[in-house]
């Protein structure tokens, strides 16, 4: 493999893979997308490239694998430093973006998936409340980060846009499947508008999975997870 060849091991439904794809698109980097059917089997290349977690996404740059979606996004930003910046330039703004991205992965996304996956109405209700509280925090964060412009990154999409925006497909799925409103035009008007702007962005629109395809996939996923009795 040439030292500058790029491969991305991923799967179309994964929001984490989507982050890597958007970052690569922003920098206009060409890469080979290798679809993994991780629910069925993991390829030898995946197991070799990510022996620690055996998960997608994995970016393989030349011979070297980089794992974990947010780490991949930062790597892409740093290697293609001459392209449009993904992380803000100001250290404090960078810290704020990083803080919220960590919050999304550690706290918010688990409550989002719990709306679909947890057993019993009480558990789902609690998960929903937590997810909505998180969105209220993000609505407030948007005002501070965007500084009056369309995205968390200002006039262009940046790190936190990618971190949160990658979950939009799943937000829509959960709104449909659980019959709830998450990003609500009246309650979180900034996020509502932002979601539309993000989804229509050139770096995003061709890689964002279609909602109805994701709904079908989610039915399969829920059945598999609940059927096997494991989380």
């Amino acid at each position: 493999m040439a030292s500058n060849e790029m491969k991305l091991l991923g799967a179309w439904p994964s929001p984490f893979v989507l982050r890597a794809r958007i970052a690569l698109n922003i920098k206009s980097v060409e890469y080979e997308f290798m679809e993994e059917n991780v629910l069925v089997t993991k390829s030898d290349l995946l197991l070799k490239s990510n022996p620690v977690y055996k998960k997608i996404p994995v970016l393989i740059h030349g011979e070297r694998p980089i794992c974990e979606s947010l780490i991949i996004v930062q790597y892409v930003d740093e290697v293609w430093a001459s392209g449009p910046a993904i992380l803000p330039s100001d250290p404090y703004d960078r810290a704020v973006a990083r803080f919220w991205a960590v919050y999304l992965d550690d706290k918010w996304f688990p409550s989002l998936t719990a709306i679909l996956m947890s057993d019993g109405e009480e558990a789902k209700k609690t998960a929903l409340e937590q997810a909505i509280q998180g969105l209220d925090l993000l609505e407030e964060a948007f005002t501070k980060c965007s500084k009056g412009q369309n995205f968390f990154g200002g006039d262009k999409i940046g790190y936190l846009d990618i971190a949160l925006g990658s979950f939009l497909g799943w937000v829509r799925v959960i709104q449909i499947m659980a019959n709830v409103s998450l990003i609500d035009e009246s309650k979180t008007p900034n996020l509502f508008k932002w979601a539309q702007d993000f989804s229509g962005h050139d770096a995003v629109k061709d890689v964002l999975p279609e909602t109805d395809k994701l709904v079908e996939f989610s039915k399969f996923l829920v059945a598999k997870v609940k059927g096997s009795g494991t989380k």
Binding site: V52, I66, I71, Q74, E78, P91, R94, A95, R98, Y103
Partner: protein, 222 residues
């Protein structure tokens, strides 16, 4: 302008130590504000409303939360004595392993600490498997950062700080000098480093603290 740096932390938290060690490495003056986590200050609640946790770095009145985010902020703001490597791939690796330490290695070590019997054996085995990844990282190096302490050394500081205490209390062996010669040497080099040892929490207090933390888990099992 004179920089005002405050660190909200506790006397023992390894996450708080990450921050003060980073500031020391950069030669920066700061004030420690010690928090009692059973009685959190208004300042902490104001500066970290999302998690209400330490550490928080307050720089000229602006709070930054989450210890690894704080390390990156410190490195972005003050360019002397870089904590992260310059090369993007090496930076990605440092970030990856720091996260592995927090997300996988520490929980596996805790699972050996908070349990007994078969569950403890399994926890210890998992932890040792995870430690083998870390041992490989130190090949040919004194510190994870190379010749000097860097981001990953600070991220792994909790290993030097806490593992031997857990081993003593729970009567388990995780870092055996024969199986893990490099980690063993690193623990010694790190904990005796002049920048590090002055802020090292006293061992007897740590033992008391961790015994108390372990108590309720053992009572649950009985």
């Amino acid at each position: 302008m004179a920089e005002e740096l405050n660190v909200l932390r506790t006397w023992s938290s390894p996450w708080g130590l990450r921050v003060v060690y980073a500031l020391k490495m950069k030669g920066l003056e700061y004030e420690t504000i010690l928090e009692d986590l059973k009685n959190k200050s208004d300042l902490l609640l104001e500066h970290n409303p999302v998690y209400k946790k330490i550490p928080v770095l307050v720089h000229n009145g602006k709070p930054i939360c989450e210890s690894l985010v704080i390390l990156e902020y410190i490195d972005d703001t003050w360019k002397q004595c870089p904590l992260l490597p310059q090369d993007p791939y090496e930076r990605a690796m440092a970030r990856f392993w720091a996260k592995f330490g927090d997300d996988k290695l520490l929980p596996s070590i805790r699972s050996g600490f908070y349990t007994r019997g078969k569950e403890q054996e399994e926890g210890v085995a998992t932890a040792i498997g995870n430690l083998k990844f870390i041992e490989k990282l130190l090949k040919g190096k004194k510190f994870f950062g190379g010749d000097t302490i860097g981001y990953l050394d600070l991220a792994f500081g909790w290993m030097a700080n806490v593992i031997s205490i857990m081993e003593e209390i729970a009567e388990i062996k995780l870092i055996d000098a024969e199986t893990f010669p490099l980690i063993s040497a690193w623990i010694n080099n790190f904990s005796t480093h002049p920048m590090i040892k002055d802020l090292w929490p006293p061992r007897d207090r740590m033992i008391e603290k961790y015994k108390a933390i372990r108590e309720p888990y053992l009572r649950k099992e009985a």
